[in-house]
Amino acid sequence: MSIFVDDTTKVVYQGLTGSQGRFYGRLNREYGTQVVAGTNPKKAGTDVDGIPVFANVAEAVEATGANASCVFIPAPGVKDAVIDAAAGGVEFIVVITEGVPMHDEAWFFNELRRDYPNVRLLGPNCPGIISPGLCNIGITAGHIAKAGGPVGIVSRSGTLTYQALYELAQQDIGVTTCVGIGGDPVPGTSFIDCLEAFEADPDTKAVMMIGEIGGSAEEEAADYIKAEMSKPVVAYIAGVTAPPGKKMGHAGAIVSGGKGTAQAKMDALRDAGAKVGLNPTAAGALMVDVVAQL
């Protein structure tokens, strides 16, 4: 089993005709993902390696039955692309694009929450999602992951996610689904969304969570773990020794109220019963112990 995607997921690539969209669209298809369509209003009716291109997501959905989209559109066009996808009828939108303005993200997150409450957004600025052996949407190198279970991964960082997948595979530990939620200020899918889904997924028996300094998403996840999770969680937080980031005026200090440092996040997670590794290797070793005891 997996969360959010599986081998029945049919994906339309918005921006399939661009260099990034073409490159990763092909790679995802080679991995086994059902890449059923692309969009580009100027190239409707053409195809990329046999993948048909439509003017918009609605037409792609009608013709192919796509139920997810993956956005490789450059940052200025992402706001429109997300709404095109939601209005076009997909249930899951993965935005890989980095550099999306904060006000755009905040706007389309709330627009989806209001008018398309059943649509799940992942990203922006994320590596995507992979259920090893079933579906890979985005830029994760699929072959580094071992399929199966029992571990689910949720991460704010791209390369650290790959590192985690790789270390688990080296130990012969499989992964149900690995979700890269991205490091932007308004992530469409949060740690808590993923923890909730992993808690409900019968094949996921333990969760690896990779966080970073800044914001309070990890602290909120810790509250959730403490209150709701029965499955063991191993966590790693990057940025323990990062210099204090620039302070966002007094407003930032008033809003954060002492949260946001790696230490605060690790303390909150330990207090919630999670095992916290001081570096990625240590976290991997902790997960090996957890899996051995399942």
């Binding site: 200025p76 904060m102 709330n110 791209g158 570096n279």
Partner: protein
């Protein structure tokens, strides 16, 4: 991108927010010329990207030309929390009756915008927030809905400002909201927002952080990019388009991906070393980017060892290794280098590096081993 106060005030003025007349000056003579033009008394204000200017003596009232000359001379060149003052803002002095506080920023937890308004503004606003949170009126603004007139008025009422300030403040908050949204700001903060003895409300300070991701909509922001405070290393990295943050240690760090770079800095510390920098070369790790990164680190005189930590994903190990070898042919490196290369086709990559290995170029199997070796080499050299 953080703006200087004077840049923030110019931005505010463009949205109709009232600010005091003034001008920026880089020299004492320029400061006096501005003061003569706008009329005394004036306030001489240090332009730096940190708070606490007032407490550090960076804000002074000048009653006449002699005082203006004296204060400008003292403030220009002053160091405030490590920032050297290169510019002062001269503005007409205000007769302050009351000091308020107003701001808009993103509430990352609620995933909506958050406005803060207080009748107790001024230098101790964080203290107010900690000791009497009720003194700060908060409003969550849905980005789709925007700040509606009715909610804005209710917000101002909740903050219990002086009655004569109410109408002006409501209008200013609408303008401030429009500035926050249309100018793509991550933060707009006015502290203090003053009520003058004449009953006028005005922004006496401006703290603005703009979103660097929105520059495509605001080509004029390029100017702000150029004036961000950077040390020599950061300036070089900026012009090479690298994600670089200078630190104080002796181990130069190069990694691909922000998370891995941050993690590498952590591990160097964990094994007893001091990182000289954070440098993320992105996913690709090709020869050009690698050479640029090595050049920046090479110019840092404190660096005594370099740690390259690459995890290959889509980019294969052999491509990364070839990039490193090519970069080393182009740049003469002063310090020994330790490489950790893992991930996709790491074995092929390591095989490419093998013939080039020496005391000055080492390969280690794990991130921890590589960090230990780099720290040891840096210690010997230091």
């Amino acid at each position: 991108m953080d703006l200087f106060e004077y840049q923030g005030k110019q931005l505010f003025a463009g949205y109709g927010i009232p600010v005091s007349p003034g001008g920026a000056a880089e020299t004492v003579d320029e400061a006096v010329a501005v003061a003569d033009r706008i009329g005394y008394p004036v306030v001489v204000k240090a332009q730096v990207h940190v708070g606490g200017r007032g407490k550090a003596g960076g804000i002074q009232l000048a009653a006449d030309v002699d005082e203006c000359r004296r204060h400008a001379a003292a403030i220009l060149g002053m160091t405030i929390k490590g920032h050297v003052v290169g510019l002062v803002w001269i503005e007409q002095a205000s007769d302050i009756a009351r000091e308020y506080y107003a701001s808009f920023t993103l509430d990352r937890s609620a995933k909506t915008h958050l406005g803060l308004l207080s009748a107790q503004g001024g230098i101790d606003i964080e203290e107010v927030a900690a000791t009497s949170p009720d003194a700060i009126a908060r409003i969550h603004v849905d980005p789709v809905e925007g700040l509606t007139p009715a909610r804005c008025e209710a917000w101002v009422d909740e903050a219990r400002l002086d009655p004569e300030a109410r109408a002006d403040t409501v209008e200013i908050l609408h303008q401030l909201w429009r500035c926050y949204e249309e100018a793509d700001a991550d933060l707009v903060e006015v502290n203090p927002l003053i009520l003058t003895t004449d009953g006028v409300v005005r922004a006496l300070d401006a703290k603005v952080t703009l979103d660097g991701n929105a520059v495509f909509r605001h080509p004029d922001y390029q100017e702000y990019e150029e004036t961000q405070p950077r040390d020599a290393r950061e300036q070089e990295a900026f012009h090479k388009g690298l994600q670089y943050v200078g630190l104080d240690g002796t181990v130069g760090v190069i990694a691909n991906g922000a998370g891995l770079a941050m993690s590498t800095v952590d591990v160097v510390n964990e094994v007893g070393g001091q990182p000289a920098n954070f440098l993320d070369i992105g996913g690709g790790a090709n020869a050009d980017v690698m050479a640029g990164a090595l050049e920046v680190i090479n110019h840092d005189p404190k660096v005594h060892a370099i740690l390259i930590n690459i995890f290959g994903g889509i980019t294969k190990g052999e491509e990364v290794a070839t990039g490193i070898v090519q970069a080393l042919e182009r740049v003469t490196i002063e310090s020994p280098i330790v490489i950790r290369l893992d991930g996709t086709n790491a074995d092929q990559g390591r095989a490419i590096l093998q013939p080039h290995l020496s005391d000055r170029l080492r390969l280690e199997p794990t991130m921890l081993d590589a960090a230990r070796t780099a720290v040891q080499l840096a210690g010997k050299a230091g």
